[in-house]
Symmetry: C2
Subunit: 662 residues, 2 copies
């Protein structure tokens, strides 16, 4: 029932009863985080059992022994291991640092279950546990859509539950600059629509994260992705401006001007301010997706390039030469910025694009391009983390993400050929939540529970890869998060009720339960085709926004087919087939009208499934024409409509195959 | 779709579109509450539509005109009426007071629905509305189980949504004294287990309520129900003490000593302090359920009675004389307290028991004894409100509560024979939430949505009595409350998941969906019979605590029988019959074991229902022996087990009747 799975677990005999006399004793040299983590655990167990622990002197049921205070600022690679021993007499948690204690307590919390003997209990066992990777992150974009501090906090709680230890806070982008700057106040005043974190709030988040064993790494994306900076400070840009906050998605032209020496003075002060605000030793400068257009078009920039040997001193450069010169210009910029980041005591981090052999080797590359790019980086001596394969906005399944390993080529399934030393420079991975099509209302449902599968990938031994087993445990983690106020479950019926208006929610839910949103590119395409491309102002209140990234119903249905549970398969198909009848009146409202073809497809797919099921039941092979026609229907039904796909098309296709292969 | 139904509604042509340009303009003489109510409405419509309203100058879509500031302290009978006109061009809300504005905005909020044309809209209409009763309350006991301030606040929001206007805060009882007293700090320090509201928090709640058009009436229950006072101040009691906070339920012996003149000095200061803290003009002194035991046994009290002519000067009084003398003593006490309450500028209020002809007529009687008791009171010239029939802890249906009218004898269904003047002294009613078997986790599910039905009883014309229509609208209100953070829906799956442990929740939910908790007396009886009578410390974490007071599934099923929807009836019965199979493994845990007979009953009842359905389908009358045996089984199945009843027994009994009457 644990997620992530511990490195080593030995079951014992019997169980430790959890009743109202539960109490925790703390000993050793741990700092105040140990006591507050213990108190949090008590409150959580109270919630998860419905018990009220008696106050007053009681003998400890769980004793915690922590050997050190831990580092003042949580460090990369700080000891996170712990040992937990549970017998019917009591439980003992030992760790070298408060981080280990927190991890052990997260494990203990998941172990509390209804007992077959009386009330609640924890099974007797011994766990020795430590993470596989030291960098286990969640990246959250708060620029494209604003995420209030409550969203951040409850996600930090959820991260801690699955032992993630880095919150990567994507704080600026074209669509919003989200931190108060006292040095350059026009950054947040003009760049955020008033939606930014005050410095006090930032400190609150950092402290909240530290209490939970999580580092906070800020990202300020430069020199591209920076339109929101240029609104208040157009003089930093490579084009004259004026600039407005970006409202659409994609790669923008506005970019900082590396030829402007005032830019570095600005960045010096700014990075200094932020280096003071964010205590973590890493500072993420983004560095991705510069299209170079404004650099190519700006004569001063061209002069600068010629002067610095990035372009020949004379002549009109061709496209390829311009592209190369822009890459060199960005490398120049990165070197200047690296010097500033170092000056303010930080290590620099950026996306693949910042990689250049000249940069010092203590930077960390975050790879959205894949294991190969990451492997190249560590071979060159850089450190890196993997994010390719962990993009939540692609709306892939937990199983798919789970299968991606930072050390394994996803195509060949072979472990990267790296020396031990090179491997050790692959620090871990980060799950990425980009928020073009996500709001504070549905962000939790995009992050959770899928992120827990990736958290296990980063924590547990490389050999832990059984997807079925993972899914069983994922369901439990998903329920656990409800107690933290994570809204991945709670917002769903509300968003559906909104769409149903005064009509019944049930038939809409039947449909919604078996559809999945298309990913980022599908949504962008749909927006373009509709003639109303998505902007920051487009309401995200349709079925596609309520639907979950991975249909649990479809997965369950697929399992029924695997198990040849034909009665239940028939029941499910019948319900889907009949749903259109009750759903139809609802689909007259303008906001649901787009679902008419989706509902029709569901009926058709379910009907086909029932026909296939009849063939299977009768052990009768259908005519080739039937199979051909069925498959054609299924291919059509698989195409996204209203930006959702019907997740039972694949299992029904399997059913048709089963029928025709008899 | 409105609840409560307005007094007068005329539908117009077309609809008013609600899009991102929605804006509200405020004019007139209203105070700051009008603007903040308007802002709240905007935010709520944003949530309920998923739109983001653009900021900046826009022309108003809704204009509000408020004719006065309203009273500084919200008064009983202050004008709450409003007029709302909506056309396709715009909406206009006019009211004489901020209270009317808030009521009108609550109406407007419920009118926003998905449009058949585009996005969201409000139908064109004109509403003229005013309440039938001026006292429309919710009473919440925070003594028997502690209710944190968040619980109070979200319930105030919910109250405002259905136009309730009095929050009756039951702040002290045997089991806890819940307000900080600076004058007598041992009250909260020793009487509350540390669970009390600070005076700042009380002010926060009062201000929150005022912003929502809700008066806050405090209750300090004396002279009985006062054990928690006596823990810190035993000298006030009629027995020597020492006293401990009450942990069990029922009528306790400890009582204040009316013969002790220091008591009145104490109450004078205490009432003075609380009269300053609570601005409302009413002050509730409880006054219920004094058993008189300690008075009868205390010689000093007996002397006092003799001296004041409540007992003959000599001789040993018999039981009846003692009882009468105790009633007289309480009447004496009430008169003394009334003088103090008046001295501090308040009007007194109490339960039926305080009623004595000698008391001045400006007190308000809260009747838990019924319309007759209430009728007597107003005939004597007192004012009164009804609570009998509105007790949520009895676990009755919304329909039952809805059928109770303060002016109608519930037995004869006849309107009370009262003069217009007498009728006008029936100020309204109060829904009562007593919390012996309720915690902050499930309290919302006990209050909502049933309270909305009673809110309509108090607000809407007496002629609005169609239960089917009420239920359709109740469902919508119930969904609306989700947006306020009311947890009546959200806590249910979490409480079930807790019980399921690492097992599947679905089969447990199937059972839970068709059971209902027994009421107060059933739970007390079950506790006694189990040998573990309930106390304040008994965990309320069983199925009975998660189950909803009224099974929506059973109501739906009953409707299917009414509609002769036999296919769906069969489907439902089959699912219930088959549920035991998947549920059984779960029932091995100790906390679910008690449900074994409940699940067995459900299977048996469903099987019977299927048999009855077969007879109905075949138009065949069953043998008399079958019917007799079926009915016996149903009678047995109707008996509570594990403190729940199976709510489909009644509809299945109807099905058996249908079969046998063919």
């Amino acid at each position: 029932m644990l997620m992530p799975k511990p490195a080593l677990l030995t079951l014992g005999q019997g169980e430790l009863r959890i009743d109202r006399n539960f109490a925790i004793a703390v000993s050793g040299l741990g700092d105040a985080r140990v006591r507050s983590a213990a108190n949090r655990l008590s409150t959580r167990i109270e919630k998860r059992t419905g018990l009220s622990f008696a106050s007053g002197s009681k003998s400890a049921v769980l004793t915690i022994d922590c050997a050190s205070k831990g580092e003042t600022v949580q460090g990369l690679g700080e000891d996170e291991s712990y040992k937990l021993m549970v017998t019917s007499e009591g439980a003992r948690l030992t760790a070298n640092s408060p981080l280990g204690v927190m991890n052990g307590l997260a494990t203990f919390e998941q172990l509390v279950q209804p007992s077959s003997v009386e009330g609640f209990s924890v099974p007797a066992l011994t766990i020795e546990d430590a993470p596989r990777f030291k960098w286990r992150g969640l990246h959250l974009d708060v620029s494209r859509h604003w995420m209030p501090i409550e969203v951040v906090k409850r996600n930090l709680d959820a991260m801690a539950a699955v032992k993630l230890n880095v919150f990567h806070w994507h704080l600026s982008d074209n669509q919003g600059f989200r931190v108060e700057s006292k040095v350059y106040p026009k950054l947040h005043e003009l760049g955020s629509d008033g939606l930014y974190y005050t410095q006090d709030q930032v400190r609150e988040v950092i402290s909240y994260a530290r209490e939970r064993g999580i580092r906070v790494v800020p990202e300020f994306d430069i020199p591209g992705h920076s339109t929101s900076w240029l609104v208040g400070y157009p003089e930093l840009g490579a084009a004259p401006g004026p600039f407005e906050i970006g409202r659409t998605w994609g790669i923008f032209d506005p970019v900082m001007d590396p030829a402007n020496k005032d830019l570095y003075a600005f960045l010096d002060k700014f990075i200094g301010e932020m280096a003071d605000l964010f205590p973590d030793s890493y500072f993420h400068i983004g560095g991705d997706e510069v299209n170079g257009k404004e650099w190519s078009e700006n004569p001063k920039v061209t002069d600068f390039k010629r002067k610095h040997g990035m372009l020949p001193a004379i002549g009109t450069p061709d496209k390829q030469a311009l592209k190369l010169s822009n890459e060199k210009l960005q490398a120049y910029f990165n070197e200047r910025v690296l010097a500033l980041v170092k000056k303010h005591g930080k290590k620099m981090m950026g996306w693949d694009e910042i990689l250049a052999p000249e940069l010092s080797k203590d930077i960390v590359i975050q790879s959205w391009q894949g294991q190969k790019s990451l492997g190249d980086a560590v071979q060159q001596g850089f450190q890196g983390i993997l994010s390719s394969g962990y993009y939540l906005d692609h709306m892939d399944s937990a199983g798919l993400h789970y299968s991606i390993d930072p050390l394994v080529d996803p195509k060949t399934k072979e472990t990267l050929r790296l020396t031990a030393d090179q491997k050790s420079r692959i620090l871990g991975g980060e799950v990425c939540m980009w928020t073009e099509y996500v709001t504070s209302e549905n962000v939790d449902s995009r992050i959770w529970p899928r992120t827990a599968a990736m958290a296990e990938r980063f924590w547990s031994p490389m050999t832990v890869t059984d997807a079925a087993d993972m899914y069983a445990r994922l369901d439990l983690v998903s329920r656990q998060l409800d107690w933290y106020g994570v809204t991945h479950h709670a917002s769903y019926p509300m968003m559906l009720a909104r769409l149903a208006g005064s009509g019944p929610v049930a038939p809409l839910k039947t449909l919604a339960d078996v559809v999945q949103p298309v990913g980022l590119s599908g949504r962008a395409r749909a927006g373009r085709l509709s003639g109303h491309p998505y902007t920051q102002e487009t309401p995200l209140n349709r079925l596609v926004d309520a639907a979950r990234p991975e249909s649990a119903e479809a997965r369950r249905f697929s399992g029924l087919i695997d198990a040849s549970a034909w009665a239940e398969v028939r029941q499910a198909l019948t319900a889907w087939k009949d749903n259109q009848q009750t759903l139809a009146p609802l689909l007259q409202s303008s906001i649901l009208r787009e679902l008419v073809p989706v509902s029709a497809d569901l009926t058709q797919v379910a009907s086909l499934g029932l026909e296939a099921l009849d063939y299977v039941a009768k052990h009768q092979k259908p005519a080739a024409a039937w199979t051909a026609s069925a498959n054609q229907t299924l291919v059509e039904a698989k195409k996204p409509k209203a930006e959702v796909i019907i997740a039972i098309v694949d299992p029904v296709t399997r059913l048709v195959e089963l029928a025709s292969r008899q």
